[in-house]
């Protein structure tokens, strides 16, 4: 047991996380100190070190809230409030999550279809592939507001415009990864299929697709994280109505730093669980296909 702990990565990870939290507390003291001194000066009291720490870790609108303040706010807005309430973080997270998932599914489908076309059609390979890459030089996050406004004037509001941005971000890793994956079978394996007189569809279903699955899951992990970022940014220009992005924007308008941080924590939890879910699907698929751990 002790040896396993020493050679594994649990203890190092916990050390690093502990260090980050400690650094966070120290930074909270440093960054919030001017305000604390200012307040104390107005009331005519001098702060000793203990008083300074207590004052910097309990401000209403700190420059950097201490971890426990964020945790309390997170607890209050997730557990204490009914999930249907507009004050509930779960409600906002669900709005963001639904846009993320919709965009992710659309993007993954588009990416897979593009990859299949690129692998099977030489003209598409030569002419479309460079533009798939060039499409990513457009900073889509930067023009998200415009896309939202334009789609809204076409009568499209709600989920779809955000999902479109998520789709644009998530199709690229899938397309590139799948092109690589569908091309990964060796010449010798393709020749083997040829000697069996396999049709194009058979080669695809029995050789290319299974060979591409590891690549697919690797790119799906990247795509789902990108998709979440897309959904969050897509919520910024909707006038801070709902969703995690809107929580961040309204938090920054009103100086509610604790609210921003708890939205960030929620977004991180979402990102981690989405990536973990894709990883789980990967392991299940590998087991179903007969991989040995």
């Amino acid at each position: 047991m002790r040896r396993r702990l020493a050679s594994g990565s649990t203890v190092p990870i916990l050390t690093i996380v502990g260090f980050i939290i400690a650094l966070w507390y120290v930074m909270a003291v440093v960054l919030n100190a001017p305000w604390a001194y200012d307040q104390a000066g107005r009331q005519g009291v001098t702060l000793d070190f203990g008083g300074l720490v207590a004052a910097t870790w309990s401000q209403d609108r700190p420059r950097l809230p201490a971890p426990h303040q964020v945790a309390t706010e997170f607890w209050n807005t997730t557990i204490e409030v009914a999930p249907t309430s507009r004050r509930s973080l779960v409600h906002h997270a669900w709005i963001t999550l639904s846009a993320t998932l919709m965009g992710f599914v659309m993007g993954a489908t588009l990416g897979i279809l593009l990859a299949i076309g690129i692998v099977h059609n030489r003209a598409m390979d030569a002419s479309v592939m460079p533009w798939v890459i060039a499409s990513q030089t457009i900073p889509i996050l930067a023009i998200a507001p415009m896309i939202i406004v334009v789609l809204a004037s076409l009568g499209l509001t709600g989920l779809l415009p955000k999902a479109v941005i998520s789709m644009y971000l998530s199709f690229f890793p899938v397309a590139v990864g799948m092109v690589k994956g569908l091309r990964s079978p060796d010449r010798i394996l393709l020749d083997q299929m040829h000697t069996w007189n396999a049709s194009g569809t058979q080669t695809f279903v029995k050789l290319r697709w299974p060979a591409a699955l590891p690549y697919l899951f690797a790119s799906l992990k990247v795509a789902v994280a990108a998709s979440l970022v897309g959904a969050i940014i897509g919520e910024l220009p909707t006038g801070a109505v709902a969703g995690l992005g809107a929580r961040m924007l309204s938090g920054s308008y009103y100086g509610q730093t604790i609210q921003i941080w708890s939205a960030l924590v929620m977004a991180s939890i979402l990102a981690a669980s989405l990536v973990a879910l894709v990883g789980l699907a990967e392991r299940l698929t590998a087991r179903a296909m007969g991989a040995r751990p």
Binding site: A126, S127, W131, A134, T137, L141, A142
Partner: protein
């Protein structure tokens, strides 16, 4: 109006036919360059003709010609925005973020215990929506380019850190043992073996960060900026429904982003010419 639409479709069909013919020719440099160019030109022509043919309002989607003329007539504004966002915000943050990540990775590499902990944490942090830190950075560092650079530093740090830490593990045992028999010091083996061996990973991180830097700098401007900058211009011109100006900014962003990426890729080719992926 219908003639324009029919013209667009005809042009599309012709370009497609021509492209298929091209792809059947023996591949050389010319055809490899011609095909994507033809595809891009087709997109532009289709866009122009369809927008005019269906009389789409310029508030929704301006035709490429309008964007082009707007681009040409507002070069000074575009240039000041570019300097504010790219050279001051994105580039400063890119250099600080990537530089500090490399330094931290080299420092951490001396302690395997820390490395084992930092790799998973860094991988986790790379998947986080760090761009959400933008409002906080604007609060801390003010509206000018410093806050944009701070966002870019945060966005670049973790992908670069993970890539460098992995890259420093790339030199294999035989090579390290060889340097050991030469009685090479830590710094000698770092600079002569391990950093060069890590450079494919380093450049991978540097390339990922080029796009992150530009996006981070532009998005951070949505949360507050001086009256210049690409993100500021995009958000205000969307509000005024001047979409041709927005598209001109997008064109600048795409051009600068590609040029930045291309420069790093060129440097990669020069520095890691020995790597299998760079051989021709």
């Amino acid at each position: 109006m219908n003639t324009l639409v029919v013209g667009a479709l005809t042009f599309w069909a012709m370009a497609w036919w021509f492209n298929v013919r091209l792809s059947k020719l023996p591949q050389n440099r010319l055809t490899a360059l011609l095909q994507p160019l033809l595809f891009g030109a087709t997109l532009l022509v289709l866009w122009e003709l369809l927008v005019r043919g269906f009389q789409v309002s310029p508030v929704l989607l301006p035709p490429p010609s309008a964007i082009g003329s707007r681009f040409a007539s507002s070069l000074p504004i575009l240039w000041t925005d570019l300097v504010q966002t790219f050279f001051k915000g994105a580039l400063t943050g890119y250099v600080i973020g990537c530089g500090s990540a490399i330094l931290v990775a080299v420092a951490v590499d001396r302690l395997p215990f820390l490395r084992r902990g930092l790799l998973p944490v860094g991988n986790f942090a790379s998947a986080l929506p760090i761009i959400g830190m933008a409002p906080i950075m604007v609060m801390w560092f003010g509206f000018d380019w410093q806050s944009k650079a701070a966002v870019v530093v945060l966005m670049c740090f973790f992908p670069m850190l993970v890539n460098t830490v992995q890259g420093l593990l790339a030199a294999d045992h035989l090579q390290r043992d060889l340097l050991h028999t030469y009685a090479a010091s830590y710094w000698q083996s770092l600079f002569k073996l391990r950093l060069p061996a890590a450079s494919p990973f380093l450049f991978n991180g540097l390339k990922i960060c080029t796009t992150l830097a530009l996006i981070g700098a532009i998005v951070a401007e949505f949360f507050g900026s001086p009256t210049a900058g690409m993100g500021f211009r995009i958000s205000t011109e969307v509000g005024r429904l001047q979409l041709d100006m927005v598209w001109a900014e997008i064109a600048v962003a795409a051009l600068v982003g590609s040029a930045f990426y291309g420069l790093v890729a060129l440097a990669e080719r020069a520095a890691t010419f020995w790597h299998p992926s760079q051989r021709r």
